[in-house]
Symmetry: C2
Subunit: 346 residues, 2 copies
């Protein structure tokens, strides 16, 4: 049924080893004539090597696992940001001739299973809280190289690749402060002392410090998740919650979009009465009215850096070195403007 190395070898009148060498580009060890003959037969018969057999016989599988959190019965959290990362990483891996196994993780033990069962050469963890990354042990990771996207975990078993979240938040906040805003709401998911959201919060505070503006902690608003619905809810209730606030920094575009919709629905003009900035620069920010001012992280670059770092480390047989932090830019669009005059027209 299936065409095997042996079939090719027999037809070519050589040993399987010779065919194997041709296939794997160890061409220095084979005569030009043999190479040509073998290649012809391979093409004719449509021979494709068995990856399982290779993986079993050699120590490498050329397989990278992309692991994402997923509640038990739930679908993956394919936020626009994660989607973009996924697409770009697949592309980069393909270019390097690796394959991608996509797996949702609901219990810690599944990480083990995922890494070991397919003898993965490497794994990318996307969207896990730092706490989960911290927990990885050598028993789990084995020799599998593990890279965590957007992680600030100090776990030496993993390498973090992330955007410069702190600077991004600082830029966005400085922009609001420069426009004249003095009471700015920080809207994001609850956070602890490390992680992406913490970094963005610190950048938010940095900007206030640099501008010599005191920030009132009462303006911290925790949302359940960075999705549209909580944003809509927050936007709707903002006038009563924080009547004095003239701007909102949201930790994600989709959240910001929800907030704007909520504000507009509540009769608050954006940006005339309240300004809103997001974070990510997803496509969606360009589709809404007003178009969203936001912080751009170069997702394509983040994906490329992550994959190349991982694959280099696999092929170099050495652990990757320090974590990588990528630059960000402020994208000024239409959702931010100076605050309304303190004593405006009645």
């Amino acid at each position: 049924m299936r065409v095997t190395l042996k079939d090719i070898a027999e037809e070519a009148g050589v040993s399987t080893m010779t065919v194997s060498n041709v296939i794997n580009g160890n061409r220095a060890r084979v005569s030009a004539r043999t190479i040509a003959k073998v290649e012809r037969i391979v093409a004719e018969r449509g021979y494709v090597p068995s990856a399982s057999a290779r993986s079993l016989a050699s120590s490498s599988s050329r397989l990278i696992g992309l692991l994402m959190p997923a509640a038990d019965e739930d679908s993956l959290t394919l936020s626009p940001h994660n989607t973009a990362m996924l697409g770009q990483m697949e592309r980069q891996l393909r270019k390097r001739d690796y394959h991608l196994i996509l797996r949702g993780i609901s219990r810690q033990a599944e990480v083990d299973e995922a890494l070991k069962s397919w003898n993965l050469d490497g794994a990318v963890l996307l969207g896990f809280p730092d706490r989960e990354i911290d927990r990885l042990t050598p028993a789990t990771t084995g020799n599998v190289r593990v890279l965590a996207i957007d992680s600030y975990s100090p776990n030496p078993l993993t390498t973090g690749v992330r955007s410069d979240d702190r600077t991004g938040a600082r830029l966005a906040t400085a922009h609001l402060l420069a426009l004249g805003h003095r009471r700015i709401v920080f809207a994001g998911p609850g956070f602890s002392d490390v992680g992406v959201v913490r970094e963005r919060f610190e950048g938010f505070l940095d900007a206030h410090k640099e501008a010599g503006v005191t920030w009132d902690e009462g303006l911290l608003v925790a949302v359940g998740s960075t999705t549209y619905a909580p944003g809509l809810d927050l936007g709707t209730r903002l006038p009563e919650l924080h009547p004095g606030a003239s701007a909102v920094f949201a930790t994600a575009d989709i959240l910001a979009v929800g907030i704007i919709a909520g504000l507009v629905g509540a009769g608050v003009a954006v940006p005339a009465e309240v300004s809103v900035v997001g974070f990510d620069n997803l496509d969606i920010g360009g589709y809404v009215t007003p178009q969203l001012t936001t912080v751009e992280q170069n997702v394509q670059r983040k994906a490329a850096v992550a994959v190349n770092l991982l694959v280099d480390s696999i092929e170099g047989e050495e652990r990757p070195d320090a974590p990588v932090t990528l630059g960000v830019d402020l994208v000024e669009r239409a959702s931010t403007a100076p605050p309304p005059e303190p004593a405006g027209p009645a």
Copy 2:
């Protein structure tokens, strides 16, 4: 290094076959005592079977390939619809204990490679034009079960799972006609005589026929791709292109969203002057102003049906039967309204 079946067998003082039977749930053949002992050791040692070895020794890999089109150097086409399908299919496969390999395809030959090299049990083709599906031959598919999402290809090697595109378009168009619209633009990518877009076009015509309205072919507008930018462009130029048109049927939500933005930018009120309907009912339709009237396809259900059909067929060792077509619903929101009065105020 790695814990193997043999290690477990030795420690338990039994043969590898016994361990294998315990692991695979052939518990009828093993005594309760042995089962308990083996299970304890497996847990203690953190044993995870090698999937490559299994795949090599048995005929099944428990691996499903998700193949998507990707231009050579390009990232996957992760449209919101495809993203949703991907997430749901991963979930369904996980529930049935299969793994997912995600692969972008740029050349026909890569389908071969993808299917054979990992000895896939099945493959899902997502986002390919029918023409590509038609082209699959037994030489390529081998014994791999292949299922094509949104395909109308008659190729017996594949099974199609799709939404009832024709009915969806008919419902949306009938809604516009019922509101009083008589000159409706059909906006979609170019299409041939079969496929998703053709079906939607036929449904569009059906509705006109049922309403006894003659449709002017000049109102057919082909866009380069169903994305935001071409929609924006079309919306902007619509007033000059089709001054008499009072409504647009777009074959995708993202296209509709672009069209609305273009219209609004050109000073045309939506829906007061021009109504717009989309297709898919993606989240984004709810985020824009006005909220989009659209056709809902139940993506979750489509994914579940696809996966279950595929896996059943794999486990039942028989080809799946007829293609499956899933129902759709019209979701009326704010982007549609009656056309403006013929003789409006100057």
